[in-house]
């Protein structure tokens, strides 16, 4: 793996939030640590000091058991105030699966989740089309690139009202969509009924990103693929780039 000189000097610092019930915290932690020039630490949901971080990951899992609604209780965790402030200051925040649901409930990303159309939990590999590669989370992908990333959720059926959808589309906030192998966003390639096959969105500023699929699960060939690596590579380059520019 090529390591650029800057990243060796100042490591890119990731924080992985642990809510009670998070269960992809270790997977995310392991995934980012497989990159050179990275520091990673866990953040307890009661932490309020978030100093010295470049990117915060809200990992997958079942925070608070996903009781009531996914993410509904976690968003009140003490750490979320800090995460919001961090994002307001331009820090990078990525919510994966349950992390995405928490960002929605917290209002840090627009929209809401319904149960999957099939009413069942679905765990399988799906194809995603990268719609916007100008975010700090996707810059290392080609626009329109089709990547294989797994999903594992019960409530990933993304919903937003018409006006909201129009805004998302107009601002390029739809970052990834479910598609078939050819990149077509067909109903058959939509695993959960999401509006417009939406799999992940970012905020207007582009520094908060949420997606249902799990890029951290495809960062190693031995477990089925590496198509998720570019998400973390993008983050690392974005942070390193920013550091170099300042």
């Amino acid at each position: 793996m090529a390591v650029s000189p800057q990243t060796e000097v100042t490591p890119v610092r990731f924080g992985v939030v642990v809510f009670p019930g998070s269960n992809c915290d270790a997977d995310s932690y392991d995934a980012v640590r497989s990159f050179a020039g990275v520091d990673a630490r866990y953040l307890w949901h009661k932490d309020t000091e978030l100093e010295g971080l470049d990117c915060i990951i809200l990992p997958g899992g079942f925070s608070y058991g996903d009781y009531l609604r996914c993410g509904a209780i976690a968003r009140f965790s003490p750490i979320m105030k800090g995460v919001r402030r961090f994002a307001d200051d331009g820090g990078l925040v990525i919510g994966i699966c349950n992390g995405f649901q928490i960002l929605l409930e917290a209002g840090m990303l627009p929209g809401a989740m319904h149960q999957n159309e099939g009413l069942k939990f679905v765990c399988k590999q799906v194809n995603l089309r990268v719609e916007n590669n100008e975010t700090p989370f996707t810059a290392d992908y080609e626009r329109g690139q089709v990547i294989g990333v797994p999903i594992a959720h019960h409530e990933g059926n993304y919903f937003i009202d018409e006006t909201g959808l129009a805004e998302l589309e107009a601002n390029g906030q739809v970052v990834v969509r479910y598609c078939d192998e050819e990149g077509e966003t067909t109903p058959a390639s939509n695993p959960n009924g999401s509006l417009g096959n939406i799999a992940g969105v970012c905020n207007r500023e582009g520094n908060v990103f949420g997606l249902m699929p799990h890029p951290e699960r495809v960062c190693d060939e031995i477990v089925g693929g590496t198509d998720g690596r570019a998400v973390f590579e993008s983050i690392i380059s974005a942070v390193a780039g920013k550091a170099a520019a300042s």
């Binding site: 608070y64 058991g65 009781y67 009531l68 209780i73 009140f76 003490p78």
Partner: protein, 79 residues
Amino acid sequence: MKAKVYITPKAGILDPQGLTIERSLPALGFEGVSNVRVGKYIELELPDGEAAGAAVDEMCHKLLANPIIEDFEFELVPG
């Protein structure tokens, strides 16, 4: 007519959802809330008629509620 169905966890049966909500409320500034129980509320429309009550009752038994761990009640309202 319209049926409104209320489904609640049977008394004595653990309700993890209710418990978790109850425990999280103080952190949101709501003190003193207890006995939170989470159930389902289902609305449906069905043809008017004598048999409507019996039909809803049967639906609850067979499909809407799980009588092993849940109780249900319903009311019929015109409309």
